[in-house]
Point group: D2
Chain length 352, copies 4
Amino acid sequence: MNNQEMTVVIKDEPKKGLKISKKLIPQNIGDDEVLIKVLATSVCGTDYHIYSWDEWSQNRIKQLPLTMGHELAGEIVKLGKNVKNVKLGDIVSAETHIVCNNCEFCKTGQGHICQNTKIIGVDIDGCYANYVKLPAQNCFVNDKEVDPKYLCIQEPLGNAVHTILHFDIIGKNVAILGCGPIGLMAVNVAKAVGASKVIAIEINEYRRNLAKELGADVVINPKEEDVIKRVLEETDGLGVDVLGEFSGNKFAVEQSFKYIKLGGKMSILGIPNKKIEIDLASDVVFKGITIYGVTGRKMYENWYQMKGLIKANKLNLAKVVTHTFPLTEVEKAMEIMASGNSGKIVLIPEHE
Amino acid sequence: MNNQEMTVVIKDEPKKGLKISKKLIPQNIGDDEVLIKVLATSVCGTDYHIYSWDEWSQNRIKQLPLTMGHELAGEIVKLGKNVKNVKLGDIVSAETHIVCNNCEFCKTGQGHICQNTKIIGVDIDGCYANYVKLPAQNCFVNDKEVDPKYLCIQEPLGNAVHTILHFDIIGKNVAILGCGPIGLMAVNVAKAVGASKVIAIEINEYRRNLAKELGADVVINPKEEDVIKRVLEETDGLGVDVLGEFSGNKFAVEQSFKYIKLGGKMSILGIPNKKIEIDLASDVVFKGITIYGVTGRKMYENWYQMKGLIKANKLNLAKVVTHTFPLTEVEKAMEIMASGNSGKIVLIPEHE
Amino acid sequence: MNNQEMTVVIKDEPKKGLKISKKLIPQNIGDDEVLIKVLATSVCGTDYHIYSWDEWSQNRIKQLPLTMGHELAGEIVKLGKNVKNVKLGDIVSAETHIVCNNCEFCKTGQGHICQNTKIIGVDIDGCYANYVKLPAQNCFVNDKEVDPKYLCIQEPLGNAVHTILHFDIIGKNVAILGCGPIGLMAVNVAKAVGASKVIAIEINEYRRNLAKELGADVVINPKEEDVIKRVLEETDGLGVDVLGEFSGNKFAVEQSFKYIKLGGKMSILGIPNKKIEIDLASDVVFKGITIYGVTGRKMYENWYQMKGLIKANKLNLAKVVTHTFPLTEVEKAMEIMASGNSGKIVLIPEHE
Amino acid sequence: MNNQEMTVVIKDEPKKGLKISKKLIPQNIGDDEVLIKVLATSVCGTDYHIYSWDEWSQNRIKQLPLTMGHELAGEIVKLGKNVKNVKLGDIVSAETHIVCNNCEFCKTGQGHICQNTKIIGVDIDGCYANYVKLPAQNCFVNDKEVDPKYLCIQEPLGNAVHTILHFDIIGKNVAILGCGPIGLMAVNVAKAVGASKVIAIEINEYRRNLAKELGADVVINPKEEDVIKRVLEETDGLGVDVLGEFSGNKFAVEQSFKYIKLGGKMSILGIPNKKIEIDLASDVVFKGITIYGVTGRKMYENWYQMKGLIKANKLNLAKVVTHTFPLTEVEKAMEIMASGNSGKIVLIPEHE
């Protein structure tokens, strides 16, 4: 693959949009790195932020041009000389947090909050490309019998797993607040591991329907129904045992404290862009609840949990992935995702 | 119901056998007690021990005659004056451990190991009868839409839930050692809460088949296969993450240490009648495993977990219960259970 | 003790103040109750609220007159006929939450958030008296060799234990926010169980000095120092592992999110009377922290933990209790507590 | 330091003994390695096994000559080019398990049971030398104000911390079975973190006295007292909440099941050379206890816990270290350790 070109999707200008371009296949694979042939990649909210060049992207992205993308499944085609955890031909997915291994957090099994994290497709060139060069330690080996178009979505699936499995939900009532792609996966995971009743709350009809198909026992449209009243009705007046927050909506988050049970658990992945106001006395202290902030994926417990669930065929990933396009149709994918009328969207790079 | 008679199954003589007899419906309901009309009851190994009057029974049973039976579902028909946790008409099942509420264990959420436990159908008259008088605190209110013949088996199901859910099994490989009724329930529970691969080990063909139907991914007949070899093959050479022991077989337990994974977890409900020999150094210390002894049911977490799983229709209780007889055919039930060719056997008292 | 009178401290009018009065020693001891001769009682913030008849008291207190007080140590002098957990002559302290034993929370080891809790000295007559009648189940038997003036403060000490021991603090850096009596006890408990560095934050000089004597490694006066800057300096720039919040101060709570470590744990007992504003994205989600609302005491784990610590002489209760008065000087005690220049204040009823 | 010689203690012949010898200071420091100037090292049971060339050593040691020793504190004097976690001049101790970082155990925070572990001073040349070359990832940076003769014993101290802190012991009764150096440290750690009563069981008088000085509330000589009877007396007839096993004595381990409390926890570090016999039914299942096998140190939680405890001056390491010799007197150290009349023995290499 020396001096061969490949197709890449790059962000090259500080404004909305992206560009399909050509670049050399990465040449210098470091001792601890691998080269991966990308078989499938998928679209994340972060990718859309960069595409649309919003305020967050303007502050966060340090250097253009940047090859976009971070969710992938691919084949190992080249190995750095120190690499031992993967071998040629392995089908891998990537943990997108490149962590330092040296800070107190990395040293105590909390790599997901490493102080020195770099993110694929944000801080270094990403995987919207035919090939991508990555640190070997970020590769997680998949079972080959699973279609890469499902394997590539494990990074966001890992967010759902982290959020939903942080607290015990077996036999319990669970609310999923916000049914974007990760919320939808959370519905699916919650039912797969024995939640009793899963209540999905989402304003978009397409996504409410998808939540239902993925196993939600109750779906609520907060534009049409009194969410607090309905959730209490569905839970013998007690509220939900566990709440997974995926909406990032200030009002929805504030409201959710009113329908969580005494002693309940709240896992928050959504990121509101405004401060939220909490009645700490009534809604946290006297209720005796626990709130957990979710960053990334527990490395690599959440990956092994996913692998086990996928292997046992417990998840319905065929329903989670609602659209598949060639990589070059990435702009179309971005716009569909923005419409809200999708689950996860997968992009397939063309290989000759 | 004053001075009315009812049918009871009693143990009246210190030898094998039992007797269908008549007795007054319990008259003096204490302030903290209830009278329950028994709708369904089921057969436990303990009942068989008492029926066959084995050594354990001879040492354990303090007084004859004794009305047998402890697993039940029934309707509350009379309330002691202090009773608040149930009301007339409620369909309840009973926790069979009557605990003291006063010892350190009861006071710290460990009622299952209360020092002063009395057991229904062993220390006090049981529920192989049309009516049974019980402490109100032992009643757990069921959803009325579930058939009592499934509700009555929650006490042993609670043993399975305690054993299997004590350690995290989501996405993990699990071995179930011994597929008597509780082992079979454990197979079902493990799959219901997202175990990846469930390996059931059992010599009886009928039960192996039932394990398969209840979701076991692999069944092993230890009389025909090398269990260690097979389990390692099924788990990439690593062994199982979690093992639930239900066989009480000395050899099987000793062997199981060889196919549990490094860092693995072992929950033991089975009760061998001989000492077991363990290579503590190689099989516990260097493997870094954890072993947990299971007594009864966590009161009442395990009951709420069951209720949530049953409500969500996650369990296949219709397959767990393989036989249903009128209460008066209890001897036939005992013999079928002894044959090993059954799952759970339910007995239905006749009410006019 | 039939028809004998005793001294009581009552709230009889809906305005600031209280009254020293006479009342019959409680006569009708229920089957599940005991009569306790009060040997020592202490002053809680709640008592001061009732004394000063603030807005909270006006809304919360249902009936006047009310015998005040809920923290006590005393001797069992009469037993209801069903009582088994204590005996005549036992020296007991009381858990002040009278719980229902029947709700899901009580049934699953979460009595501290029982839905039907009644509180001694708030919902029923309290222990600012020579004798008090209480449910036997609320009595916790003490070691007789400890002075009652220390035993009576176990109820608030249990709050400190609940708050501080909910998360693991062994070898970790801990901030105690607010050094009223419970915050002071928290400082003492944290050091007793192996916290590495305890940083106490408090505006009152008297209490800062007391915090220091009780083991605080660092004390900060937020009126004179930049708390965030100082805590970060004291923790290698990382912030504290665990934070116990006892101040109930809106600004202090909001600020504390800035000096808690990534992955840190926050236990909140203080009850702000205003909503707090949180930057959920930066301060909870991306930091991966956990927040826990503390109500009451875990029943009765926290009591056994206290008993073990007191028995081992690990706590410096002689320093926590700064003032002791006869019960009849209760108003003086209230005013000293209000000044902030005290630790815990104990009241001793006079017995002939 | 090119081509300079240093003093080393080597095992060169397959028989009892060791040799003081000369060797070149390690020259080729790999990219991920460091060179450490050894300031203090200490004697472990493993070193004695190798010294005495017992059966275990004969099977375990793959290649002679071998530079012995694995417990150390030293100064970083050379850095491989990729090294980032330490810098020149840092005073470090070493985790002696060199783990692979790639297996499932390493990938899920369980490096202490890594399948591919290599051990310093066993599988590679050790630190009974003026200088030692080690993987940088095994270095843990110490506070410089602590004397290296205490810092070097953190590796075995970490075993004690792992064993004792695996289960919650705050306010609880704890038995320490076997008071060799690690058992002694366990006594000290248990008291430091708030155990209520620590009962140390040991046949050697010197060590019993040391246990007492390190905080044991009760010491028992099993040759003179009935251990079961005494422990039950000391624990209100209930037995200990937590037991740390450090003796490796078959009889002592078997006996300990009789004085552990219902629901008790047992952490086992000692390695019996015979199988132990357990009455699983009575002593594990019906007691509802938990048993945990301890290997190495949790990497690196246990190291951070130690650092926090040492920083707060909670441990009495000056008493744990009973002897200090020049490195060249290593044989004398071995013989004293074999006598049982010592705590930890430290060796100091001479540097010009």
